[in-house]
Subunit: 357 residues, 2 copies
Amino acid sequence: SCSLNLDEFPHTRYNPLKDEWVLVSPHRTKRPWKGQVEESKNPNRVRFDPSNPLCPNVIRPNGQTNPDYKETFVFDNDFPALFEYDDLLQDCDSSDPIHNDLFKVQPAKGSCKVMCFHPYSDLTLPTMKITDIMNVIKKWIEMYQELSSRYTWVQIFENKGEIMGCSNPHPHCQLWASNFVPNEINREDKNQSIFYKKHGKVMLMEYLNRELKSKERIVLENEHWVVLVPYWAVWPYETMMLPKRHVTRIDQLSEIEIEDLAKIMKKLLIKYDNLFKCSFPYTMGFHFAPCGKFLNEPQDHWQLFASYLPPLLRSSSVKKFMVGYEMLAQPQRDLTAEKAAKQLRELSDTNHYLIHS
Amino acid sequence: SCSLNLDEFPHTRYNPLKDEWVLVSPHRTKRPWKGQVEESKNPNRVRFDPSNPLCPNVIRPNGQTNPDYKETFVFDNDFPALFEYDDLLQDCDSSDPIHNDLFKVQPAKGSCKVMCFHPYSDLTLPTMKITDIMNVIKKWIEMYQELSSRYTWVQIFENKGEIMGCSNPHPHCQLWASNFVPNEINREDKNQSIFYKKHGKVMLMEYLNRELKSKERIVLENEHWVVLVPYWAVWPYETMMLPKRHVTRIDQLSEIEIEDLAKIMKKLLIKYDNLFKCSFPYTMGFHFAPCGKFLNEPQDHWQLFASYLPPLLRSSSVKKFMVGYEMLAQPQRDLTAEKAAKQLRELSDTNHYLIHS
Ligand SMILES: O=P(O)(O)O[C@H]1O[C@H](CO)[C@@H](O)[C@H](O)[C@H]1O
Ligand SMILES: O=P(O)(O)O[C@H]1O[C@H](CO)[C@@H](O)[C@H](O)[C@H]1O
């Protein structure tokens, strides 16, 4: 085994899902911070704001009135990055093969949905009831089923917090469906497929089993789900949420798996909120086998997972800047995955800092 | 040729350097913005701050006194992400081949330098003299030569602006040298090499020639250098700076190429400052052929270039958030490369908004 002290010396770790490396510099959090500090507003939200287009019964900028919804509510993004249009692309290839390799373009079509989690603007997933979170998961599955025959990929994602570019405090997420498989899904598809062919096993099932034995990077576990800090995590408190069973797509989750997912999500998000005593910002989303024409191809190399990618490093107001070296060369992190997992593991997962303190 | 109207309809463009795609949604800047707005401080800097560790003659936190430097000044980062240590790594492989594919780790050794551009804290590259900028470029080359025999990669990069995590207003950059080739260099190496083998031509030379003919995405040009918005740009006002000659490494630049580089850098950075009337934040850095053991291998597939990656989208206070869909699926941009190039092209490159307005 390995005699390099990973707690003390810089090293690179490999991400087998992405086929890329992360630089881990365990001692770097010691440097003093003189840079930008985020405004740390404490959530002082109103339950209903008649000017917020995500609230029930309000009129959205496009003139439509929201229903008096009681659980979740899905509508088309009024400013979509992807939409349907007539295919005007006839022939973008020129007779110059070098030109064709340098100037490749494809029409991008799709659908962008916004999904409200709850009628109340002052709630977040960690302060919602388990049954309400189960409604959210069931709506994800319903929307996925609606979009998956027509599109090759449906990205379900939540941007939470102003620091993550989230322009509305109402609890919500988005679904962007596309006629193409995006870069990150493509990469993970390729690498999981190579592993499956080489070893005859599902990469992330093998990975999960080894993590469950070592326990070093496990944050939470219940009967059907595990939350861990991946060995190759990039963001300081990044986590991965995996079902214990081999699940290739989100609509394969059973009722009890949905309930356990709601429970482990709530516990993780309470831990996150407790970490820096703030409504913890993050980007989260699900990855699983692509759909559309891929629905008819074997996808056993895939395992469904959710990623939580939070920007904070030292406190509610100091984030990790992924700039400079990270943008141009390689991601770099300032504490080990093991240390982050230990910190998260030791935090309460039932007492929310606001509600029970 | 192509009948898709790229100004109007969402499409994906291919980045041949990275072998990945960007989603372009040309109409998206129309959506209203209710999200985070950056504090837009106007530069009201002091020339000399005795508590700033980058100023001449001050005592740094580690007890060392800075020299009374008159041009540039380089020192070792006091909190380096990479340093030299005894190689304790003996054998990290286990007898389990699946384990070896999932838990790969390598010792990361290197050197992290900080380089001050000028003794005055209230200057920035666009407000410095051409001769001073030439001193900076010559110091980059000198440092590169010092580090390139020992290390396989030297990343020269500048983080400018608090929004980019830059923790010190004094004009400076960093150099991180490593015993490994980082992900992004690796990717570009691979894709340029494939192109070179396939076409017998240098990818970026072919690309540049075509861009010079079309002119659509050119921002600036002088005798030896070109600045353009790459066809596959991700950040709203991202640019690429290329020499007209085939140059594989930074120390191959001639005196006149160094002078022309200083001139085109200054012009570009004046344009950037004028765009939103602020000291324009960005990450910038150079990519070229790797060094160390690669110094003895043919690297003709490489072409040197600088990348400018600025975060701002709409104004000095509204940035593009690369979150959610971008982090989990694929980068997405809200205006075309052609539109960004036109905007930058039409801005003054001599009258700085502060100095001459
Ligand atoms: O070294 P600095 O300027 O303090 O730090 C900045 O640049 C580094 C290299 O890009 C990043 O790793 C840090 O996250 C960022 O805050
Ligand atoms: O759609 P929103 O929440 O207004 O916008 C946010 O999420 C999008 C999808 O990740 C990003 O493209 C935007 O940059 C970000 O501000």
